[in-house]
């Protein structure tokens, strides 16, 4: 009985995540509709055939308000011409990735993080790395609606970006993928999720806009 309820819980979480990813795909498609000339026909995004798709899918969650910080890079970005590699990782179960060219390193989650009183709860604190201070953030609440964040184990890895100024706490690091620009559905300039560069449909995975994310974190208008 207990096993069954656990299975139900896992399926529900998978459904929620799949629905969320599906929402991202649809949102990018809608952005494209908004940004393209009216004569251009835009195909609906491919539907992901998973078990979770067979049940009713909740509405697309409201997007996180975009903060007015850095100007957004045109998509696809310069680094995405031809084949490029991405590191896949999990954040609260959500598969995300960062382009390797924007990755400065991966760390095991350190035992010691120095918290800063009076700061956003998303800011976990500082970590001393080779004499430099890495600002550790949990961006889950930036990329997922709060009511979709499942209970989870403590983060195991830190993904270092922006010259290792920032460490993104994540559940775990997975694999490296080689993809080509045409395998990615890039978000438009008007996208409502500033952290999103695009979505890899084949891998059901979102790619972070690392530059924008880092600059918006630096700006401090978050959380």
């Amino acid at each position: 009985m207990k096993e069954r309820s656990q299975k139900t819980l896992v399926v529900e979480e998978q459904q929620a995540l799949t629905a969320y990813l599906d929402g991202l795909l649809q949102e990018i498609a809608l952005d494209e509709v908004d940004s393209e000339p009216t004569d251009v026909r835009v195909e609906a995004p491919p539907r992901v055939m998973t078990r979770a798709k067979l049940v009713s899918v909740p509405d697309v969650p409201p997007p996180v308000p975009a903060v007015q910080v850095a100007s957004r890079q045109a998509m696809p970005p310069d680094w995405a011409h031809g084949a490029f590699q991405c590191l896949l990782f999990r954040l609260a179960g959500l598969p995300l990735s960062v382009p390797l060219i924007k990755l400065n390193g991966i760390m095991e989650m350190p035992e010691k993080i120095t918290p800063m009183p009076g700061h956003s709860p998303l800011f976990m604190g500082l970590v001393n790395r080779h004499g430099r201070k890495v600002k550790v953030v949990d961006i889950t609440q930036l990329v997922m609606p709060r009511d979709r964040i499942p209970e989870r184990a403590p983060p195991r890895n830190l993904i270092l970006i922006d010259d290792a100024r920032w460490g993104l706490a994540c559940d775990r690091v997975e694999e490296t993928l080689t993809v080509t620009a045409d395998q990615v559905r890039w978000r438009s300039a008007q996208g409502k999720r500033p952290w999103l560069a695009g979505t890899m449909i084949q891998h059901l995975c979102a790619i972070l806009d690392v530059d924008y994310l880092a600059s918006s974190l630096e700006d401090g208008n978050w959380g």
Binding site: M116, G118, H119
Partner: protein
């Protein structure tokens, strides 16, 4: 000449008293510390702000004691043998701050103190002057002048 003076300022060391709060090390300018006391009886003051523990009688003078944990939004902790009240002077006003323990006196050069990260912090965290790395650990440097806002200083003075 100006460059030399700037460089001298960056390497000029200031002494700080360090104390512990919730397993972290904080540092305050030694010049603002008058003395360190064991925790004795603190008389509560009705209607005082939540971070004010009360008042003590320090050799005939009434001194307001604030709880550093509460001021910094940290979990409350019962005082124990290690707890200390650090008597400080800020802009002519003398107050005590209750800390978990007092550690040591250290020297930090200006160049060793990085500015506090600006990451979603609120007004009440402006007292964090910066962070210094020492022996693989991070020390949070507190600007006592900004520990309370002007209004809060006035409120504490009128208790």
């Amino acid at each position: 000449m100006a460059k030399e003076s700037q460089s001298a300022s960056a390497t000029h060391a200031t002494q700080y008293v360090t104390f512990r709060l919730a397993e972290e090390t904080y540092a305050i300018n030694v010049m603002q510390v008058q003395e360190v006391l064991r925790v004795a009886e603190i008389a509560p003051v009705p209607g005082a702000p939540h971070y004010v523990l009360g008042i003590i009688n320090l050799r005939g003078n009434v001194v307001t004691v604030i709880d550093a944990r509460r001021r910094m939004g940290l979990m409350d902790k019962e005082s124990d043998d290690s707890s200390r009240v650090v008597i400080i002077e800020v802009s002519g006003q003398v107050i005590g701050i209750l800390v978990d323990s007092v550690a040591e006196v250290i020297e930090l050069a200006e160049k060793d103190v990085d500015p506090a990260p600006n990451v979603g912090n609120d007004e009440s965290s402006k007292y964090i002057q910066g962070v210094a790395s020492r022996e693989g650990e991070l020390t949070i440097v507190v600007d006592l002048n900004k520990l309370l806002t002007d209004d809060e200083w006035a409120e504490v003075a009128n208790l």
